[in-house]
Amino acid sequence: MQVQERVKRFIVENFYVADPEELTADTSLLTGGYVDSTGMLEVVQFLEEEYRLEVADQEMVPANLETIARIAAFVARKAGAPPGA
């Protein structure tokens, strides 16, 4: 499964998303009210376990984690693979 799809499934299954269609790759998870800061801790833990990577404190920034697209790009960078892989 593509990273974007997998991350979206995790969010839809673990947080309240009224209409999954509204949650696009570019929707802000934080300002959109989907995931709060504690929830983001769960997202980071999911990424670390699912993709066997370590997220450093300084990497926990909106540029890496604010949207599903950014998360996928971040995972790809961490894995050394092209975005969307």
């Binding site: 709060d36 404190d57 926990m60």
Partner: protein
């Protein structure tokens, strides 16, 4: 025009208004005979106790001091000193045995050990947030632990461990509130809440813990204004000069490292500026911050308000009750 003066108040007038409100609320509306105030030796509870004493008279205010295992000795000493200064009755209720019985400390320990297995006797800890001023970081809390030699390190707790640590720690505020209501029921008194506007607005309280009360006389005042009121009311200088702490964890922890992103004076001004649509650059010029730093604080204010909605929510009913 935004300036540091926007929070200036006529302290005498504000105090008179609050004292009248306390009399109306406690005696007339709630039909209670006095007020119970949990006193922590901090600025907010000291101001509330003083206002209650002035509004109701010293014989109608009970000050409760409720230390537990991780409380600073200063909290008890200053709380007692203020109660004596005000001439109100005071009682010390050590809540540590209740917390022990509920498993508060054991559950905290279990949670901390999910990240630091060697944590035990002689270790201390606190939770902290990254500084918003240093860069664009998500507000994700980390745990700072100090081993018995005092050497500190920061770790990130797994989500379940973090939630358990917060949930176990919340017993402290909830047990204290339970004790306040015991005395309130015994005396037919009302329970005073002590949040200031910053805490009330941003959700810096425990639901059904320090968030519970019958009246909250300073919830409309910025913390800066609470300090101005404290000076007007003659709250002792040692209390006014004490840095705000949470007094909740075994390592000393400031309120800004635990919850707020800036020292309270700047945080107050940022909240005012945010709510009055002051442009980040204009606010930053007054606060000595860059516009992007103010933008980050604005976003954090909004994020905390989203979290606070649940904390403020009353129990929801599924239908009309008819009684009104």
């Amino acid at each position: 025009m935004f300036s540091r003066e926007v929070l200036r108040i006529d302290a005498a007038k504000v105090a008179d208004g609050i004292e009248q409100a306390i009399r109306d609320q406690v005696l007339v509306h709630l039909k209670r005979r006095g007020a119970v105030v949990g006193m922590s030796g901090g600025i907010d509870s000291s101001v509330v106790a003083t206002l209650c004493r002035r509004a109701l008279g010293p014989e109608k205010v009970l000050g409760l001091l409720m230390p537990e295992r991780d409380s600073s000795g200063d909290s008890l000493r200053l709380g007692q000193a203020l109660a004596d200064h005000l001439g109100i009755r005071r009682e010390v209720e050590d809540v540590a045995p209740a917390l022990e019985g509920l498993g508060c400390y054991a559950r905290q320990l279990e949670a901390i050990r999910t990240a630091v297995p060697e944590y035990g006797e002689g270790w201390r800890c606190k939770l902290s947030l990254p500084s918003l001023l240093e860069g664009e970081r998500l507000s994700i809390t980390t745990l700072t632990v100090a081993d018995p030699s005092g050497r500190q390190r920061r770790v990130r707790l797994p989500a379940a461990g973090y939630l358990q640590l917060v949930a176990a720690t919340n017993f402290k505020q909830r047990v204290r509130k339970m004790m306040e209501y015991y005395h309130a029921d015994r005396l037919a008194y009302a329970v005073a809440g002590t949040p200031n506007l910053l805490e009330y607005d941003q959700g810096f309280f425990v639901k059904q813990g320090d968030g519970a009360a019958d009246f909250k006389p300073i919830a409309h005042l910025y913390k800066t204004q609470v300090y101005a009121l404290a000076e007007h009311l003659g709250v002792p200088a040692e209390i006014r000069g004490r840095p705000p702490t949470t007094d909740t964890f075994s390592l000393a922890q400031s309120q800004e490292e635990f919850y707020f992103s800036l020292p309270h004076r700047e945080m107050d001004l940022c909240l005012w500026a945010h709510d009055h649509a002051v442009a980040p650059a204009e606010a930053g010029a007054v606060l000595g911050l860059r516009a992007e730093q103010v933008e980050r604080v604005y976003r954090d204010i909004e994020a905390k308000r989203r979290v606070a909605r649940y904390l403020h929510a009353q129990p929801l009913l599924a239908g009309e009750t008819g009684g009104g």
